[in-house]
Structures are given as structure tokens and as C-alpha cells.
Amino acid sequence: MTLITGLFSVLAICALLLILGYIALTGARALTIGFLVNMPKPIGEPGSGIANAIAGTLILISIASVIGLPVGILGGLYLAEFGSNRLGNILRFLIDTLTGVPSIIVGVFAWTVMVRPMGHFSALAGGVSLAIIMMPIVARTTEEMIRLVPQSMREAALALGAPVWRMSLGVVLRAAAGGVATGAMLAIARIAGETAPLLFTALSYNYMSTDLNQPIASLTYQIYYYAQSPYDEWHAMAWAATLVLVTMILAINISVKILTRQRYQ
């Protein structure tokens, strides 16, 4: 029986290694320095790159973090410090529900509240839709991390005469800062790989753009776009872009794992 359940585990890990291995081998073939720093060129022209998509993904992540992290962290602070009542349970339930909402729905929502009133696709709308995905994740991990802070630290701060707000922000949140940052990193890794919410918000853009009011390219959208195209050359670019994206995401996940292991052992 150990053998059977062990085999299932091997099977799951093999799936992971097969997918990652294929990405590494195929992606590496098209991955050059030029690919990372050049702009996209028409099909057939050599030296095409995805510099604009890399920049776009970073910009989208920044917008989402600027909006999503403060809201998520303070919301999580409420759940942990004041949320042990009926209202807290209702909010917790709704926030958990939001975590389960398919990301394509978030895209449709961002389209109705951002793109339609503005009249055009924009990086801002894309960033907002990613922020919406981020908020509930950050709020719940923040809550869990703050709950791990020992009660004695709160009591010590209050005994020294600190008001509740200083106790929460200066002592509790600071003590939980490492865990909160970990949660934030994982949330960033999660949104970096999102495509569905960008389809009708950030769309894509063939040139370098830093204008938040305009459509913007992203790695994930480019992968989708190149994969659907009939050109072998673009398929190779999709694999190389995937290698860049997956390396980024796995680097975050693995470094978080290493950091947290050191802290808790």
C-alpha cells in the first residue's frame, strides 16, 4: 500500500517535472539576451523580443501591489484584531468567497466598472483587476500571520500605556511583518501568472508603454497570443516567454519556502 500511494506521489511529481523540463528545454532554444531587451518585430524579421511585455508585467504587478497590498493588509488586520465577532465572520466568509471567484469573472467586472466608463482598455484597469485578485489572498494570510503573534506582546504594549492602534501597527504588525511579506510575495507570484483578467482590461500593446491610461503588454497575454498564432517562430517565442515567466514565479515560490523554513525551524 505504501507502494501504491508512493507511486501516486511519484506520478504527481513526474507531471511537474515533465512540464517544467519541457519548458526549460524548448524555452532555452529561443531565449537570448536580445529576446529579453528587444521589442517585438514583424514575423520573419530576426531579433524579435518581449522587452515591452516584461516591462508591462512589472508595471501591472506594481499597480496591483500599490492598491492591493495596503487594502489587503489593513483588512486582514481588522479580521485578526477586531474580527472575532459576527461581523468578522460574515466578512471572512465574503472574503473567502472572493478568493474562489474565477479570475475571468474579475476581468468582466473590471471591464464594466473601469473600461466601459473610461471608453478604452488601460493598464490601470488591468492593474485594478489584478489587485482585486490579490486583496482577499493578502487579507487572509495577514490575518493568519497576525494571529500567530503571542498575546503577551499585545499585553506588554498595552501595559506600557500604548493605545490600541500603536499596539496593532507598531508591535503586532511589526512582529508579523515577515509572515505578511511572505504572503504578499506569494500573492504577487499568483497575479504574475494571471491572463484571464487582462483579456478585456489591459489587453496588449505592441510597443513600449508606461502610460497607465493606455493598453499595455504582459508576458501572459503574449504567451496566449503567440500560442494561438499559426507561426512556428511565434510558438518558439511563446515557449521562451514562458520560461521567463515560470522562472520568475518559481523563484518567488522557492525563495519564500527557503526563507520561511529558516524562520520556523
Binding site: 489593513l74 468567497t97 471567484v101 466598472v113 484571464a196
Partner: protein, 309 residues
């Protein structure tokens, strides 16, 4: 001085409450916006939208049935493959593996969840679909081709391929939650059984029995994930709104229909019909997630709040 401190505390509490409310309020706002934005299609088709089989943007006739069918069947295929594997991995992690092995294995399995959906789609188009088309599907057909489930000429893109991709994508969540609930149930019963001479098999069976409502919750959470999955499915399901008995035929899911057609929706009612599809998807995932959470909480409550996912 003291009063001012209290006032500051009240303001602080209020501010954090506002942020928590803002996140939770998004759920309500989403329902309101989507209901408003699907009114045209709702007025025209009413409840029959759910069981109408026609999807014809040119004649402006819309119905959700082909998409509901595609979402349901692809997710069920995903579950049929993923559930045994996930429970097997969980049993291995909880009952058999030494700690030095269980930590890295569960981390590697969870890494499957870190791979973006669009990457699964890319891999599905260029690796999995050709492989299935050339080697696996012909064999299934030569053995079971008389069944309507396996008729037709598979081109690799269809319900079955989507289901297989989904199974890989939901293994991490089902494994994580099943492992949690199996760790949370009491050890005394299986240990008593072992002391009375039960085999390891029988003791494990007791653990599974005691955790079964939580494991059901894990499976249902996986179902919720599978139904909402968009990019990977869109890329391998073939995108044709039809209800066909054959699992090799192209199909469409609710999520992939929205992803594919939303920006192309030229008429107002076309877009409203797509948003109504989105509303249906929202309600389905909402009910599934709420139900699954109740089941999982029932088992893990002893460990405090914060079951995974």
C-alpha cells in the same frame, strides 16, 4: 489625553474595518454589476436561458446549455482522474512518508499550483494534445470505440483533453485540503485498531472514514477550481458550442466562452448574454465553495480557523 487615545483607537478600528468591508463589498458589487449588465438577455430569454441549446450571435439567439454541459463534463473528467491521485498522495504524506520526505513532496506537488494557467494551455496545445491524438485516443477507440463516448475522429482538442489538463491543475488543491483534514482527525482510533492487530490498510481506512466529510469538501473545492479555470481550457477544448456525446469532440465551457467572445461581442444583447453566463458561473462557484468550506471546517475546526484555500 486618555479620551483622545480612545478616539484614535476608534478611528483606527473604523479605518481597518473600512478596508475589510471594501474587500468583502466587492463580492456584492460584482453580483449587482453583473445582474445589471445581463438584464437584456435576462428579459428576452428569462430562465429558459439556462436550458436553451442555441448559441447564434447573428440571429441573437442565446442559451447557456452547451457551455454548462462543457463545464460540467470537463470538470467531472478532471475529478475522476485527480481525486484518486490526490487522495493517494495525501495518504502517503500523512500515513507513510517520513517527515524528511513528506515536506519536499508536498512542496513539489503544491508547485503544480504555481504554474500559470496559460502555461498549462501552451503545454496542452503543443505537447499533450498531439500525444493524446496520436497514441492514446486511437488505442481507446480501438478498444472502446463502440461506445458513443469515444466516437468520431479526435483531433486532440476537445472535452477529454481539457479534462486531463484540469486534472493536473486541481491535484494540488485537493491534495492540500485532503492532507489537512486527514492530519486533523484524531489518531487514537487508528492506533487502537493497530494495537488490536489491524493491518496498516485497515488503520488508514479508519482515518479516511473519519475524515470523509472533509475529503468530500476537498473534492468539491477541486470541482470549484476546475469549473472556473479559464485559459488552459480555452486553449485545448476546441471552442465549439455543441453538445456531443463523444468526449473527443470540441466543446466550450462557460469560462472559455467569455474569454473567447467577450471582446468580440458586437451587439449589446450578445454581451449581456455573455455576462449572464458569467453570472451563472459566479453563482455555481459561490455555492460550491461555500458548501466545501462548511464540510472542511467541520473536520478541521479543532485546529482553529483558516483551512486552506
Amino acid at each position: 489625553m486618555k479620551r483622545r487615545g480612545r478616539l484614535a483607537d476608534q478611528v483606527f478600528k473604523l479605518i481597518t474595518l473600512l478596508f475589510a468591508l471594501a474587500i468583502a463589498g466587492l463580492v456584492v458589487l460584482m453580483i449587482v454589476e453583473m445582474a445589471r449588465d445581463s438584464s437584456l438577455s435576462f428579459e428576452k430569454f428569462g430562465a429558459s436561458f439556462i436550458w436553451r441549446e442555441v448559441w447564434d450571435p447573428v440571429r441573437e439567439e442565446f442559451g447557456a446549455l452547451p457551455f454548462i454541459y462543457g463545464s460540467a463534463v470537463s470538470s467531472i473528467i478532471g475529478l475522476i482522474i485527480a481525486v484518486p491521485v490526490s487522495i493517494g498522495v495525501s495518504v502517503f504524506l500523512v500515513e507513510h512518508a517520513p517527515r524528511s520526505l513528506s515536506t519536499p513532496i508536498s512542496f513539489l506537488v503544491q508547485l503544480l499550483a504555481a504554474i500559470p494557467s496559460v502555461v498549462y494551455g501552451l503545454w496542452g496545445i503543443f505537447v499533450l494534445a498531439p500525444l493524446l491524438r496520436d497514441t492514446v485516443y486511437p488505442r481507446i477507440q480501438s478498444a472502446f470505440g463502440f461506445l458513443p463516448l469515444f466516437k468520431g475522429t479526435p483531433n486532440g482538442l476537445g472535452l477529454m483533453t481539457a479534462g486531463i489538463i484540469l486534472s493536473i491543475m486541481i491535484i494540488p488543491i485537493v491534495t492540500a485540503v485532503a492532507t489537512d483534514v486527514m492530519r486533523a482527525v484524531s489518531r487514537t482510533q487508528p492506533e487502537a485498531a493497530l494495537a488490536l492487530g489491524a493491518t496498516k490498510w485497515e488503520a488508514t481506512w479508519i482515518v479516511i472514514q473519519n475524515a470523509r466529510s472533509g475529503i468530500t469538501g476537498a473534492v468539491i473545492l477541486g470541482l470549484g477550481r476546475a469549473i472556473g479555470e479559464t485559459m488552459a481550457v480555452t486553449m485545448v477544448i476546441g471552442n465549439r458550442p455543441q453538445i456531443s456525446a463523444s468526449l473527443f469532440d470540441p466543446s466550450f465551457t462557460i469560462a472559455s466562452a467569455i474569454a473567447n467572445e467577450f471582446t468580440e461581442a458586437t451587439s449589446e444583447i450578445y454581451r449581456h448574454a455573455l455576462v449572464e453566463l458569467g453570472l451563472i458561473l459566479f453563482v455555481i462557484t459561490f455555492v460550491i465553495n461555500a458548501f466545501a468550506r462548511l464540510l472542511v471546517w467541520g473536520v478541521t475546526r479543532g485546529e482553529g480557523k483558516g483551512a486552506h484555500a
